[in-house]
């Protein structure tokens, strides 16, 4: 194994480990947070930490996995494309959902401490 392969493998291992940790944390947050808007935090960890990071890690791992043959570059390229799509699309999807949920009042805002957006709407500074 050449040095560059060794480095890629170690980075891949670390990234996949971080991904597993983030999955567990996000799953716990998803189940224990009180309402929709707080759960958005857990969703962020799930999308970026739990999915984007391990996909990059797997791509790096595949680059150094010589038993796969030449097709491993296909795997690495596909993995990077999927990761880029996820990086751009996941936050946008969460934003669209949160906006729609807030303005349609579909999500309950139960343990409510402060709602700055509502005050701004009442003052007329922000509108839909």
């Amino acid at each position: 194994m050449s040095p560059i392969d060794f480095v890629l493998t170690v980075i891949g291992y670390i990234l996949i480990g971080i991904g597993a940790f983030c999955q567990i944390v996000a799953g716990m947050g998803m189940n224990r947070f009180p309402n929709f808007f707080v759960r958005l935090h857990a969703a962020t960890i799930a999308a970026i930490g739990g999915s984007f990071v391990p996909i990059i890690g797997c791509s790096l791992l595949a680059l150094s996995f010589e038993e796969l043959g030449d097709v491993r570059f296909f795997l690495a390229g596909g993995g990077f494309v999927a990761a880029v799509f996820l990086l751009i699309l996941a936050p946008v999807g969460s934003h669209l959902l949160a906006k729609a949920a807030y303005f349609s009042k579909a999500a309950v805002l139960q343990p409510k401490v402060v709602d700055a957006l509502e005050e701004d709407i009442r003052k007329g500074e922000v509108h839909e």
Binding site: V81, F85, I88, L89, V92, H95, L96
Partner: protein
């Protein structure tokens, strides 16, 4: 450790199947229709994982867009346009129990028969061997002898468009008949002519910007899935349904008036006809060449056969193109994406315009 290695895919398979059973049960008994649609989407994602672990990536590529994307989209549109809750008062208990019993008996019998039909050798399920037909296909999909081969490393595409091409042709025509049926139901209804306004229509500016960036990338991925259909998992159907996401994103995020700039319904029908013509042409191209040169040829002939020596080249300049498979995939891609564009445009017409037309007909 190596035992665990072999065990994990089967473990994931069984857990996935059990979770999908729970979500199917909840989807059926749920009264809120939109939640039922979402539960069926969960079931679809898990079925996709099952297909993946059963090593059929072609099905995953076509199943995810269809069952996670397009079908929920259509059902969400339908639920928004009609009733949101299901009225379940008055279903008699005895009738449903009788029906449930009958269904259980029928399914058990048919499942047992299918299990028997698989285990020809009475080996434990799953057996270590496949059927003779499958072994023949696997052996000849890329072979030294062109007479018996489809010259494509992708055996699924080879079966779809070469070995069983006539089957696929008629199955595809069923799909286009369904699209024609939908067009016939929406006969005089047209997209209202309005100018697209950036601020007043569609969703938030962040969504619009991200979609503007992503649409070309999605199209590139779809085209590469379709054009590499004879080398890697994918093909015309898979690329077409992946590209259909761009049409739906344009309609939902911007508006139907923005999408109508690119796709008029009549243009889409025209492009679909071009795609279908390409399929017919690829099916009969050897026949035409044989007719002109006075040789024998078959329909859906890809490589030369024993008594019909005409065949398309399987590689050009060292690149494998597998004869007609490339033409089939390209035409099918065009036809599928335009078919779904038509259906989405028809579904997104505002309800007032539709009701006007229907009221005019009733009177």
């Amino acid at each position: 450790m190596s035992e665990l290695y072999e065990l994990i895919p089967y473990l994931v398979l069984s857990i996935t199947a059990l979770v999908s059973t729970i979500s199917v049960y909840l989807a059926i008994i749920e009264k809120d229709l939109i939640k039922a649609v979402l539960y069926s989407a969960i079931q679809s994602t898990f079925y996709a994982l099952i297909f993946y672990l059963l090593m059929v990536p072609d099905i995953v590529l076509v199943y995810i867009p269809v069952s996670v994307g397009l079908l929920p989209a259509i059902l969400i549109i339908a639920v928004k346009k009609t009733e949101k809750y299901e009225d379940v008062t008055g279903i008699s208990k005895t009738t449903s129990t009788i029906i449930l019993t009958l269904v259980v008996i029928f399914t058990l019998i048919s499942g047992y028969l299918l299990l028997l039909s698989h285990a020809i050798t009475f080996a434990i399920f799953p057996s270590t061997d496949v059927r003779t037909l499958a072994r023949w296909f696997l052996n000849t999909t890329l072979w030294w002898n062109r007479m018996f081969s489809a010259m494509s490393p992708e055996s699924v595409t080879a079966i779809v468009w070469d070995y069983r091409g006539l089957d696929t042709y008629f199955e595809t025509s069923v799909m286009y008949l369904a699209i024609i049926g939908a067009l016939a139901l929406a006969r005089y209804i047209e997209i209202p002519k309005k100018v697209f306004k950036e601020e007043a229509m569609g969703m938030s500016i962040i969504g619009k910007m991200a979609t503007r960036i992503m649409v070309p990338m999605i199209l590139i991925v779809a085209v590469s899935i379709a054009l590499h259909g004879h080398l890697t998992p994918g093909g015309g159907f898979q690329g077409g349904v992946t590209a259909a996401v761009t049409v739906s994103l344009l309609i939902f995020i911007f508006s139907v008036y923005f999408a109508a700039r690119f796709f008029k319904i009549n243009t889409a029908i025209l492009l679909r006809i071009i795609g279908l013509t390409g399929i017919i042409l690829a099916a009969t191209i050897t026949l035409i060449i044989g007719f002109l040169t006075g040789q024998q040829a078959y329909i859906f002939q890809n490589q030369p056969k024993v008594i019909a020596q005409i065949g398309l080249p399987y590689e050009i300049g060292g690149n494998l193109i597998s004869g007609t498979l490339l033409i089939f995939n390209t035409s099918e891609f065009l036809a599928v994406v335009m078919g779904f564009a038509i259906l989405f445009l028809l579904l997104s017409i505002p309800e007032e315009n539709v009701m006007e037309v229907i009221r005019g007909e009733v009177e």
